[in-house]
Amino acid sequence: MSAVAVHGVGTSHFGRQPERDAIALAHDAVREALTDAGVDRVDAVWVGTVFGPAGVAQRTLRALGITGVPVLTVENACASGTTAFLEAHEAVRTGRYGRVLALGIEQMSTAFSGAITPEPSDPEQRGGLALPALYAMSAARYLHLGAVTPAELAAVSVKNHAHALHNPRAQYSGSYTVEQVLGSRMIADPLTVLQCCPTSDGAAAAVLAPATGGPREVRVRGAALRSGRVWDHSSPHVWGYDIVRDTTADALAAAGLHAATDVDVVEVHDAFTIGEIVTTEALGLVPEGAGGKAAAAGVTALGGTHPVNPSGGLLSRGHPLGATGLAQLAEITWQLRGEAGGRQVDGARLGLVETMGGGVSVLDGNACVVAVLEGP
């Protein structure tokens, strides 16, 4: 078994780019990742994509000159890119392949005109439960319980849009007020449009290989994946809480850490404001019910005790589903190398990535991936 390191990362720009195809987006990400790693060949490729048409991985890679090596496509909803990373990591760790490319691709602007079309073979999606409505149910429940206030929900959006001011790859950024966030167009009560991630196109990639102690290597301390148990009337928490908590426990154990509070910077799945609040609680960064207060108090902002989503997160960087996990990984890699520019978390040495994919009724998430990384 080898210690595994991220040797290079790269991403495209994130945003609505209907005029650019998957090849162009992936080229930006793969070229940057290979250059960053100082290599020009890989032994295998794992590709994460959700709505990519059949064959999108090979069709894209052959245009980048990556042919004749094993290519595997994985789909785990929003966690597809992180699942590709997790599998690439395992392949290197066990010695199956020496150097592996993990790539996430998604072009959503040409697939959907607005919100993602609910999947008609899923009962609750067939019933009209678009993804914003699923998260709205959690937000409404938290409000009902007094576990969050509308202003605390909005604080997450204010924070992440402000973080993205320092991220030139982000789809959106801005200096918003809580009032502006709450006053923006209602999508699914109580979530307003500034509390929802946009429709995005993008790609992100990482090169993994055995750790050699190089000065720019970011070591993978531990990674874990879980798929959801039954989530229903007997579940103690809102949707997605338990799977994030349990996957985090697995990843921390693999990393030899006691708590998520031991890490210096995290990128989490904030497809909607309530998602970041629930996740910071489930990670154990803050106590249960304290996620909203932490966001409003600046605890999770750059300069706070536990900076969350310095990239701007999904809310601002954008959320090209299959690419998101590797975009999160790229951000943590830059943070741990001290290359994050105006959004750098000073002295960050340990980082954590969390991605949550969902949409299947009666499950507490299709998949959650959590990875812990350590800087050089």
Binding site: G114, T117, S121, P123, G127, G128, A133, M137, H144
Partner: protein
């Protein structure tokens, strides 16, 4: 749509002889789990299941109003997760609700929507 819509996966509501609407689901004979679906085994423990009807009354666990266009739907429409009494949590549309249904409020199953969705009405 990328592919054809096959069998309807939604919970089936039907009118009992007493005139009340109920959801046809399952109960696990091993762990007593209940679900609003007629799946072959228990999703929690893989135990054997038997058919069971649930409803008509329940309590709103959470609710929202969807205000954006969703393919095949006309916004706005109100949704609620309803915990049926001694039964499963079901996603239901809410009759005549311009605002989200009151969480903790009591509701009753009624005839499905024209689109075939389970539906509830608030009890005064």
């Amino acid at each position: 749509m990328p592919h054809a819509i096959g069998a309807d996966p939604r919970p089936r509501t039907r009118r009992s002889p007493d005139g009340r609407w109920r959801v046809a689901g399952l109960r696990c004979r091993a762990c007593a789990e209940v679900a609003a679906y007629t799946w072959p085994v228990c999703p929690r423990c893989r135990g054997p299941v038997e058919p069971a009807d649930f409803g008509p009354t329940g309590t709103v666990w959470s609710s929202t109003v969807v205000r954006i266009p969703v393919p095949g739907r006309t916004p706005p429409y109100a949704l609620a997760y309803v915990d049926l009494d001694d039964g499963p949590r079901v996603l239901a549309h809410v009759v005549d609700a311009a605002e989200p249904a009151t969480i903790g409020g009591r509701v009753r199953l009624t005839a499905p929507t024209a689109d075939g969705d389970p539906r509830v009405e608030a009890l005064a």
